[in-house]
């Protein structure tokens, strides 16, 4: 099932030629990362090291195992640290 992958403007400017939105087929976040890495070789490393992810608004670390429901919005955002 396809998911809508979205990057912030800054991330897209740096790594995806400014393109912010993609449709990918994936069951889990690993699938999303692989699909994006196939489009932009090396992108998986940047996503793992620099981002957190919101899957339908729920925040997660950018790991492999998080399920991606059909039609989900997968939004990669800058990594946040608290106090």
């Amino acid at each position: 099932m396809s998911a809508r992958v979205v990057f912030t403007q800054g991330f897209a400017r740096r790594y995806t030629d400014g393109v912010r939105e993609f449709e990918v087929e994936a069951k889990n976040l690993r699938g999303v990362l692989k699909a994006m890495d196939a489009l932009y070789p090396g992108l998986m490393h940047h996503l793992e090291e620099e981002t957190n992810v919101a899957i339908n608004g729920e925040l997660h670390e950018t790991g492999y195992f998080q399920p991606v429901p059909p039609g989900a919005e997968v939004f990669f955002i800058p990594r946040i640290e608290g106090g």
């Binding site: 979205v6 912030t8 403007q9 800054g10 400017r13 090291e49 620099e50 992810v53 919101a54 899957i55 339908n56 608004g57 729920e58 925040l59 997660h60 670390e61 790991g63 998080q66 919005e73 939004f75 955002i77 800058p78 990594r79 946040i80 640290e81 608290g82 106090g83």
Partner: protein, 759 residues
């Protein structure tokens, strides 16, 4: 105890969750027997001392340690030459993603000192006085350079540069000239210009906030013991001993597996103990001396050399319709990073408008270095600063359209599906419920007297999830040990024991929760980001469920039935149905006693990386009285409503809310770093750096709104940070209500208020 809990999920279904048992660390702490970093001693231990820069900005021409080395009793001296070079890169080991080129220069200065108090060298000697004398014998030749403290001045074209090659990141094309602006960030949704055109009223204002310290009671301290074979043991007061291990390993060039860190009790952190200052120095001193070394900061060291949160200079513009609909919000947020890049300005940009459904938003952030200690995290880092500016302008909008400021916020409050400025939509409820709880508080409409005013504000924090580990041991007498890797700052041992007791169905008094060292539990990220009750709580429940599975297996062995035929209920293994057989339920204690016969010790562990943490949302109102003769602001009433998910231990949740409010009051009214013309700090102590004391505060009333987080087994949400976001704006709004004037700079100290009243 504060009996003002509002429960939206009113089904009472727990025996221990929501109760208030005594915390496991309570007795040692109130009897003075708990061991903090500075209490620890080892045979042959040396005393360390750090030599610090007297200058705000200077080039280091030379460091001569020869006289100090000759002093009897001196065992080792460390300078930056003893630490390996670090690559200029923002990626670090494990989850500690920082630029170690900067970190190593903060631990010990190299080419330049960048703030007064910057560490230059460290010595270890047989006594504190010998170490002090040796530090005085180290000759450092400086070439003093012009300095800059204020963020606006640091951004000016002619400002002294801390790094002559710093080119601002985030600007395209990249600037050709270096500056003190480390990074520019920009976030936007919608179209702000179109949004402002839809508004009936547009208000903009500038604001400044002072850098404030977390003001933890316990200064930083650690003890290190390095062996000749490379093994190193460290005892340290920190918010994350795994983080201390990772940072130390990287800074001194050791392997993670060679360092074992044991957490001491911690006397407060609030974000300021997620970074390292002393551990790598103590480890290197110990390695060179061959003896254990303890390093402590003095209170003055803490103020001069450890990270406060940023001060800031901000501009915010908000448009609103006459019916109260906010149509657009825009902000420019310039944050002091201190001497090295890394202020929480991104968080400020992301949190600034987060409590509200504003379709058009634009936030620009600047991370700016200046000659002051490197900023560190402080509760909800960045959010309270940006929130102060935004919530002040929202108050001005409410006044301009003649609407109650809380009603304006309720009308615009974010809910599930509301887009945020970074793009994702809010996924959790609780904001509206919290605002309504505050609005319905009987004090909100109570009359006020002369020179008195009431102000409200809201605050948002993401809260955290991430990696946590827990282990569980079932002891032979039926007691249970729960060990985690999360240093306990806010009573988390009690909440871990509560969740384990609830899940097992046994008495709380039979569960002992401890925080254990890096060698005895899996990796656990720092106690920060309001993540522990959520993420480490999930690890504890997961380890407990594994123990229950094992207990059921042991019962099945005793009954000679299939393990699937055994269930766990209220602390007993029972047959799942009459088809399994007629067996007397076996208690945990009975099964524990048979552990050897049924397969050996019952011990389980869990390592998790949960997401789905719900954000924190707090709404508060304050009643203040302003003395027109002195400018002093008294807090008459402070009411804090917050969505707490479910309060696992309500007393410690209330404590978090009250603590956030108390620190926010200090931030609003008194706390600031005062630098002299040489860039030296003039108030590095609690006598002159004015934190609120008990007599400054009324009883802080809390309203715990419980909207459980469905992702957590008991509904917990982080509670430790959102509560510090509203006080500064709410108190400022109250001062405006009392005096008719808008204070746009923190702190609103008596001299500043008096000056404003006079003008």
């Amino acid at each position: 105890m504060n009996d003002s809990t509002i429960v939206t999920d009113s089904t009472k279904r727990f025996k221990w969750v929501g109760t208030r048992p005594i915390r496991p660390d309570g007795v040692p702490k109130v009897t003075g027997r708990a061991l903090y970093g500075a209490d620890l001693k080892l045979p042959g231990m040396l005393f360390g001392k750090v030599l610090r820069s007297p200058h705000a900005h200077a080039r280091i021409v030379s460091i001569d340690t020869s006289a100090a080395e000759k002093l009897p009793g001196v065992k080792s001296i460390v300078t930056s030459a003893d630490l390996p070079a670090q690559k200029f890169d923002y990626i670090g080991p494990e989850r500690v993603a920082v630029n170690f080129w900067h970190v190593t220069r903060n631990i010990l200065a190299r080419e330049k000192v960048l703030y007064e108090g910057h560490a230059v060298a460290a010595v270890a000697a047989i006594s504190a006085s010998v170490a002090q004398h040796a530090a005085e014998l180290i000759k450092v030749e400086y070439e003093v350079l012009p300095h800059v403290i204020d963020v606006d001045e640091a951004m000016a074209d002619n400002a002294p540069l801390l790094f002559e090659d710093m080119i601002t990141r985030g600007i395209e094309p990249a600037p050709t000239k270096p500056s003190n602006i480390s990074k520019k960030l920009e976030f936007a949704i919608g179209d702000v210009e179109a949004g402002f055109k839809q508004a009936d009223v547009v208000i903009e204002h500038t604001f400044k906030t002072a850098a404030v310290h977390q003001a933890y009671i316990e200064p930083h301290a650690c003890l290190a013991k390095a062996e000749a074979d490379g093994q190193i043991e460290i005892w340290s007061s920190s918010q994350g001993h795994f983080a201390m291990r990772a940072l130390t390993a990287q800074i001194i060039g050791a392997k993670l597996g060679d360092i074992r860190v044991t957490p001491a009790e911690i006397g407060g952190g609030f974000g300021g103990k997620t970074v390292t200052y002393l551990e790598p120095l103590a480890a290197m001193l110990s390695k060179k001396a061959g003896l254990p070394v303890r390093l402590n900061m003095s209170r003055e060291d803490v103020f001069r050399a450890s990270g406060p949160t940023s001060g800031a200079s901000m501009w915010v513009k908000i448009g609103v319709k006459k019916d109260g609909t906010i149509t657009a919000g825009e902000g420019i947020f310039k944050f002091q990073a201190g001497a090295f890049p890394g202020s929480p300005v991104m968080n400020g940009c992301l949190c600034a408008f987060a409590p509200y459904a504003i379709p058009n938003q634009h936030a620009i952030g600047y991370d700016v270095v200046s000659n002051r200690p490197k900023a560190a995290a402080y509760r909800a880092p960045g959010s309270p600063i940006a929130g102060y500016a935004v919530e002040s302008v929202i108050d001005m909008c409410a006044k301009a359209i003649g609407m109650d400021p809380l009603e304006l916020r309720i009308k615009n409050v974010a809910g599930i599906g509301t887009p945020t400025i970074s793009g994702p939509k809010h996924a959790h409820a609780g904001f509206k419920e919290t605002l309504e709880a505050l609005y319905n508080h009987p004090g909100y409409k109570a009359p006020l007297g002369k020179n008195q005013g009431r102000g409200v504000a809201c605050g948002y924090w993401f809260n955290g999830g991430g990696e946590s580990s827990a282990t569980m041991q079932i002891n032979a007498d039926g007691t249970v040990l729960v060990a985690t890797g999360s240093p306990d700052i806010g009573g988390s041992r009690a909440s871990m024991a509560i969740m384990a007791a609830e899940t097992l169905g046994i008495d709380y008094s039979n569960v002992r929760a401890i925080v254990t060292d890096t060698g005895n539990v899996g990796y656990t990220h720092v106690t920060g980001g309001s993540r522990v009750t959520f993420a480490t709580g999930i690890a504890v429940v997961s380890a407990t469920n594994s123990a229950i599975k094992e207990l059921c297996k042991r019962a099945a062995m005793i009954w000679d039935v299939d393990p699937d035929g055994v269930i766990w209920e209220d602390g007993f293994a029972k047959p799942a149905s009459s088809n399994v057989g007629d067996f007397k339920p076996l208690s945990l204690k009975e099964l524990a006693a048979k552990a050897a016969a049924t397969g050996g010790p019952i011990t389980t562990s869990a390592g998790v990386n949960p997401g789905g943490q719900a954000p924190g949302f707090s709404a508060q109102f304050y009643d203040v009285e302003v003395d027109p003769d002195t400018g002093r602001v008294d807090i008459l009433r402070a009411v804090c409503a917050q969505d707490v998910g479910r309060a696992i231990h309500p007393s410690y949740v209330e404590g978090q809310l009250q603590g956030g409010v108390a620190q926010g009051v200090g931030w609003a009214l008194n706390e600031e770093y005062i630098y002299n013309a040489k860039g030296q700090l003039d108030n590095p102590g609690f006598l002159d750096y004015r934190c609120p004391v008990a007599s400054d505060l009324p009883m802080i009333e809390t309203i715990m709104v419980e909207v459980p987080n469905p992702v957590h087994p008991y509904g917990a949400k982080g509670v430790g940070e959102a509560c510090i976001c509203p006080p500064m704006a709410a108190i400022s709004n109250a001062v405006t209500a009392a005096t008719g004037m808008r204070m746009a700079e923190l702190p609103m100290s008596p001299p500043r208020v008096l000056k404003a009243l006079s003008s």
